[in-house]
Subunit: 177 residues, 2 copies
């Protein structure tokens, strides 16, 4: 590692749930983050993930009313992620994998540009319909998750509570190191 910035980004990324500084995220950086999401692979190239970046004051205000936590309340921008259930050539659905990969790409892009974020999903479901109506999203796109984006105003702590390597990764057979 050392001079491998990609690995540094992967290993320094952590879920940030604190407040954000009152500084905007430039449209250029938001565009780069969205392009990172698009750059992720997708099952059978179905490209089932799509994205809406929010940086408009009025729209931000409406979304913040749905997410009362300090992090979302102070975020200067959001990325909303939508998924579409399109079967692959084998009839299977890979849309969850697709947005999972796109989320990781965007979180790493966010980190590499000097911002922080956290993957919100479980508490997004109850507002999904409201957000889709607000943003005129067609019904075949389902809101899956959300990323607040901004400069962290508090300390960004390393990822906590990770199981040791030996409990999750092995060589040439289960349990083998």
């Amino acid at each position: 590692m050392g001079d491998n910035q990609t690995l540094d980004t992967i290993f320094s990324r952590a879920s940030y749930r604190g407040k954000y500084k009152n500084e905007p995220v430039s449209r250029e950086d938001l565009t780069t983050i969205l392009k990172a999401g698009i750059a992720a692979p997708s099952g059978c190239n179905r490209q089932t993930a799509s994205f809406i970046a929010v940086d408009d004051e009025g729209v931000l205000k409406e979304i913040k009313e749905m997410f009362p936590n300090p992090s979302c309340q102070t975020a200067p921008a959001f990325i909303l992620v939508f998924t579409q259930e399109i079967a692959g050539i084998d009839g299977r659905f890979y849309n969850v994998q697709d947005y999972g990969a796109a989320m990781e790409n965007m979180m790493l892009a966010i980190k590499s540009l000097g911002y922080d974020t956290c993957w919100y999903e479980g508490n997004v479901k109850k507002c999904a319909e409201q957000i889709s109506t607000l943003l005129h999203v067609p019904e075949e796109l389902h809101m899956a998750c959300l990323l607040p984006v901004g400069i962290a105003a508090e300390e960004v702590c390393p990822a906590k509570g990770k199981k040791p390597f030996e409990e999750r990764a092995w060589f040439n057979g289960y349990g083998m190191q």
Copy 2:
């Protein structure tokens, strides 16, 4: 961008389906790739994804018999990804998202270390049980996907057939740029 290696890796990564050079992937690099998988976030921190790297000649030979394509036939190493269905605190399952994010982290780590790979999933299902038996994997872990890892012996082409930005990403409302 320019001096942002993380973005360069994200934007240069592409699914590689060609042959690999007959050069090994060091155990150190395999370990780094596995650590990148572990470094991905997981829903409610359930850490449902786990990994087996394969670099043993005998095990490689057995796995190659299941995947007759030129890429897998020539790969000097594989990463096998397993998933476990553990509910989050909200009773929902995020294990597919979890391995989706872990896969992207590993693919970027692979690219940043000078190797190439491709996400194999659909054609893995039929061999999942056979591989689990071969590697003594407990039945609660389900094989989800596989990454061959090695140095590309052929040209690595940029990702093809991507929809334009405007069809997948918008600002402050569906369809808006």
